[in-house]
């Protein structure tokens, strides 16, 4: 296992290098160029533009630019073009809010996905299953921004509920619990919209996997020996059907720091999505490269973690 992990880590480093290279060239070869002074500002002189290009090495050939960006990224010196703050600090600043949002969404998708999936499998083919299936497809089809707007209008107009930001501004809470609940609400509202699709997908995976497992010989044996149906279902079948969940966690891990542009915008939530989106519009190359790099590293780490977890929960899987 150790050898496997080390080998995978080494391979990841090579892979990361290529990912950073490709993402850098995709970003810089996109038409347009960084221009931090707003629309056609008649006041920006040629001198200022030249100094700006020199400062961010934009006057150099692309391969040298790549070298500068990677060097600065690893020394922590990489600065954003928009406000010249260190990119890593900008990413770190948004990390807590982003983690909260995506952990919330992850918890909701997994828990509700499991509940719906198990419920559907338990009643496979009967009306409760049909209803949850229809529900799942409706969930997959719902556009997030539309639900968000409806929810926002409803909550604000009929309940005067604060929905924007990470907490209610202008309120001093009498105790810590209320303050915590306030923050909980501001995280869970966008998280639940992010989770709608996840719930649907996870529930379908679980249901399919359960139904497949229930056809296995050892289940028939368990039933044949007269085991209680609940015991068969939850003890024997369920434990062998959670592999999709682990895949799901592995896949969702990068999303933990990746952003949700539209939802974050609607709820004025200060997450990574807005950082990336604004960086794309402004052609903020350093920020984009750093974001891509960090996300790619997390994806690779997530894949590795999922593989290791497989081996842990499923003795049939061996890592060599």
């Amino acid at each position: 296992m150790t050898v496997f992990i080390i080998r995978r880590l080494l391979a990841s480093i090579v892979l990361l290098f290529f990912i950073s290279l490709i993402s850098f060239f995709i970003i810089t070869l996109t038409p347009g160029s960084p221009y931090p002074w707003g629309e056609l500002n008649p006041k920006v002189s040629e001198d200022v533009k030249r100094v700006f290009r020199e400062k961010f090495h934009l006057d150099k050939p692309l391969h040298e630019q790549y070298g500068f960006i990677m060097r600065d990224l690893f020394t922590g010196e990489l600065r954003s073009i928009k406000d010249e703050r260190p990119v890593l600090a900008k990413i770190a600043e948004r990390l807590p809010a982003t983690l909260a949002l995506n952990l919330g969404a992850l918890a909701l998708s997994l828990s509700f996905g499991l509940l719906l999936g198990v419920y559907g499998a338990r009643h496979a083919g009967r009306p409760p299953d049909v209803i949850t299936s229809i529900l799942a497809f409706v969930f997959i089809a719902l556009p997030g921004f539309w639900v968000s707007y409806l929810l926002a209008i409803g909550l604000v107009n009929y309940g005067a509920v604060p929905i924007l930001g990470t907490h209610t501004i202008g309120v001093t809470f009498s105790n810590g619990l209320e303050a915590f609940l306030d923050r909980w609400w501001h995280v869970m509202l966008p998280a639940s919209i992010l989770a709608i699709g996840g719930v649907a997908v996870q529930s379908r995976f679980i249901r399919a996997s359960m139904i497949e497992t229930l056809r296995e010989d050892y289940i028939r044996t368990a039933r044949a020996k007269g085991l209680d149906e609940n015991a068969v279902f939850y003890r024997h079948a369920l434990r062998n059907s959670v592999r999709p969940l682990i895949t799901g966690i592995g896949m969702l891990l990068p999303a933990l720091i990746g952003g949700a542009v539209i939802i974050e915008n609607i709820f004025a939530y200060p997450g990574m999505g807005r950082l990336g989106y604004e960086a794309v519009l402004e052609r903020d190359y350093p920020t984009l490269v750093a974001l891509n790099f960090v996300t790619a590293a997390l994806v690779l780490f997530g894949n590795l973690l999922a593989d290791v977890l497989y081996a842990v929960v499923d003795p049939r899987v061996r890592l060599e």
């Binding site: 347009g32 001198d47 400062k55 202008g170 609607i266």
Partner: protein, 700 residues
């Protein structure tokens, strides 16, 4: 047995978890919803302003976006500002004096003395020619006049009786900083002939007496030895033949302190100027100060600015916010983004308190403000990037003020609870015709296009009536606007006639044809701007009706600029200009600005317009500025390089009962009034806003 009990226990536990965790999450969330729906927001004595954009930096010298501008506007002061009627008044400067220093050079000291004596004898009425004093120093005669500009000096020169030497100026641009090279050259030349060396970065100027060509050639050789021929540009500057240098002296208020308690002095002003000129700061305001020769500080309360030549937008540039030298002077500019730009210290009515990225910037009342205690405890600038939720936040009073789009304002118009502000903006929208394309080179065609487009319809359906038809390069609120320019009326019949005259006759498919070429072109604009894409659609429809085929294409902003607009690679473009209060539009219309990456992207070339653009920059006389600007506006409107569309009004709404204004009036009285729109914007009296429920505090 132990094995069995474990089995029995584990089964209900898994089932409980599967049901329990989602239930728990749902229950806590429901509890949270219940809690937040009960809280009452106490905004205290603060104002909440919502905006879509996030400030980029809170350093006023570097900021270019409007979100940054509205925050730094309450934290910092300039030396001067506009009053409610858009006249220039003092801010940090208590008073200022504008004068002219004209220096004439003679062959010898004797001649200079003779010229001075003749002047003394020849000038009867010093007042009329604005002559304050004169002095002879060596071979030079220096005049000081109370009115900037060259006219009076030229009149005085006729009295000398001796012909002064001609002053020539060479402007130099080099690929590298050239201060040393220029200074050495000046020292190498006989110093009596070079009278002034000025340089800033790669730009320099050499002012000398006498022969033009030879010096120019020697300078070229000298600089080429150092920098190489490439990128070297030496050009003579047109001038009056003597040194004509405007001088502004500011006297600063005595009792101003920075938010950290340090006194505000003339050193701060000089430092701010140096920061703007420093290329490492990359200030977009640098061009405003390019003609400054020197900024001196005779004492802590006075600043003396000398310009290299007449430049009438000079005063406006000193509305620039002043930076604190005591905090920034020793810090290299590349460190500013880490410290000062996120935590600014100013002199303004509000001081910086807190910035939560992507959420809000909070400023708090400056207890020590030199114009008196602001009424509000603070202002919170919230960033709410989505227009719909911003609207919801306004409707539920989470923000008090909202700059809304015209279409959104309609629903607030009839509602008694809101105050609606409309302000004529200094911006206009246009369709620019690329004059490098043969089809747009015929003036009759451009006039026909203008007649064919229904601008009233645009104002009605795109702006919901909040706008007026544009009549050229200036907008009606500007004091030099020419109201006599008649707008071209919507008249498809004349449009057809003009097109017929120009040789474009309808073809088989209804599209006009000339010399086998169909009148078809592509109109481009950027994505994500509803007003511009609506304009493009209406133009397309209107022109179809007179037999012109328009294809509309939209590009993402960065692509739009880089690939098309900056390269001049387009047929026609929908764009808008957001202008300042100044009348200098050299960069937009002068023929020298038609190269790629410059702002005259339609390629407008007019000798007459060039002349006016150059001369108005050096004009200080108010009536003369109005005359020249009026002529320029008429000239360009007649030429129709753009189809000038409309001047939209800025629209915004505020909760009517939220604020009133109580501001110092004349003779120590207080004027208490509702929040009203001023020419300088709704927020002009922001430091005197108060919440009526805190009225007692405001009256203290």
């Amino acid at each position: 047995m132990g094995f069995l009990t474990e089995k029995i226990r584990i089964v209900p536990r898994l089932r409980t978890l599967i049901v329990g965790i989602p239930l728990l999450l749902a229950a806590v969330t429901a509890l949270a919803l219940w809690t937040v729906s009960r809280v009452t927001v106490d905004k205290k004595n603060e104002m909440y302003i919502g905006s879509i954009g996030e400030p980029g930096t809170l350093n006023p010298v570097q900021a270019a976006d409007s979100a940054s501008g509205s925050v730094t506007g309450v934290i910092f002061n300039g030396l001067l500002k506009y009053n409610a009627g858009l006249e220039i008044v003092g801010d940090l400067a208590a008073e200022w004096d504008l004068s002219q220093r004209s220096t004439f050079f003679f062959d010898s000291a004797e001649e200079a003395i003779l010229a001075a004596a003749n002047l003394e004898a020849g000038v009867m009425d010093r007042e009329e020619l604005h002559l304050r004093r004169y002095a002879v120093e060596g071979n030079r005669l220096e005049l000081e006049l109370s009115l900037p500009g060259v006219d009076d000096s030229e009149k005085l020169a006729t009295k000398f009786g001796v012909t002064p030497l001609t002053v020539r100026t060479l402007s130099v641009m080099a690929p590298k900083p050239l201060s040393d090279a220029l200074t050495l050259f000046a020292a190498k030349e006989s110093t009596a002939r070079v009278v002034r060396v000025w340089s800033n970065g790669n730009l320099g100027e050499l002012v000398f007496l006498g022969d033009d060509e030879a010096t120019r050639e020697r300078l070229r050789v000298w600089l080429a030895e150092r920098f190489g021929e490439e990128g070297l540009r030496i050009e003579p500057v047109q001038g009056p033949g003597f040194l004509a240098e405007p001088v502004v002296v500011f006297r600063l208020h005595d009792d101003v302190r920075w938010h950290d308690g340090a006194p505000f002095t003339s050193r701060d002003v000089k430092f701010t100027y140096e920061a703007i000129m420093d290329d490492r700061v990359a200030s977009p305001r640098k061009p405003d100060y390019e003609l400054v020769l020197s900024v001196e500080t005779p004492d802590a309360r006075r600043v003396r600015v000398v310009y290299r030549r007449p430049f009438s937008p000079a005063l406006e540039s000193w509305m620039m916010s002043v930076l604190p030298a005591h905090l920034l002077a020793g810090v290299p500019p590349d460190q500013w983004p880490l410290t000062f730009n996120r935590k600014p210290v100013g002199t303004g009515p509000f001081k910086f308190a807190e910035w939560k990225t992507n959420q809000f910037v909070r400023v708090a009342r400056n207890e020590d403000y030199f114009k008196g205690l602001p009424h509000l405890d603070g202002i919170v600038f919230r960033t709410l990037p989505d227009p719909l939720t911003l609207r919801l936040a306004f409707e539920t009073r989470q923000v008090d003020f909202w700059s809304a789009d015209p279409w959104a304002v309609g629903s607030f118009r009839a509602d008694e609870r809101f105050t609606l502000f409309t302000s004529p903006s200094n911006s206009y929208n246009y369709v620019g015709w690329n004059l490098r394309r043969p089809m747009f080179q015929d003036l009759r065609v451009r006039r026909a296009l203008a007649h064919a487009v229904n601008i009233d319809q645009m104002i009605r359906y795109i702006l919901y009536g909040y706008g007026t038809q544009s009549t050229g390069i200036f907008t009606p609120e500007m004091w030099f606007f020419n109201p006599r320019v008649r707008p071209l009326a919507y008249d498809p019949e004349s449009a057809r006639q003009l097109l017929d005259e120009a040789g474009w006759v309808p073809g088989k498919d209804g599209i006009r044809v000339k010399d086998g070429q169909r009148f078809a072109f592509t109109l481009i604009t950027n994505n994500g701007n509803v007003i511009r894409s609506d304009i493009a659609t209406l133009v397309q429809e209107n022109l179809r009706a007179v037999g012109i085929e328009v294809t509309v294409e939209m590009y993402e902003w960065a692509v739009f600029l880089k690939r098309f607009v900056n390269q001049g690679e387009f047929d026609a473009v929908v764009l808008g200009w957001a202008l300042g209060q100044g009348f200098d539009q050299f960069q937009i219309w002068h023929s020298s600005q038609a190269e790629p990456e410059r702002l005259n992207m339609v390629g407008y070339q007019s000798k007459e317009a060039d002349r006016l653009l150059e001369s108005v920059r050096e004009e200080f006389d108010r009536d003369e500025i109005i005359r020249q600007c009026g002529e320029l506006q008429q000239l360009i409107y007649d030429d129709q390089p753009y189809l000038f569309l409309f001047v939209p009004e800025g629209t915004s709404v505020m909760w009517k009962d939220a604020f009133r204004v109580k501001r110092p009036g004349p003779d120590g009285t207080w004027i208490d009034e509702p929040v009203k729109m001023t020419k300088a914007g709704w927020s002009h009296y922001l430091e005197w806003f108060y919440r009526p429920e805190y009225a007692t505090e405001a009256s203290e």
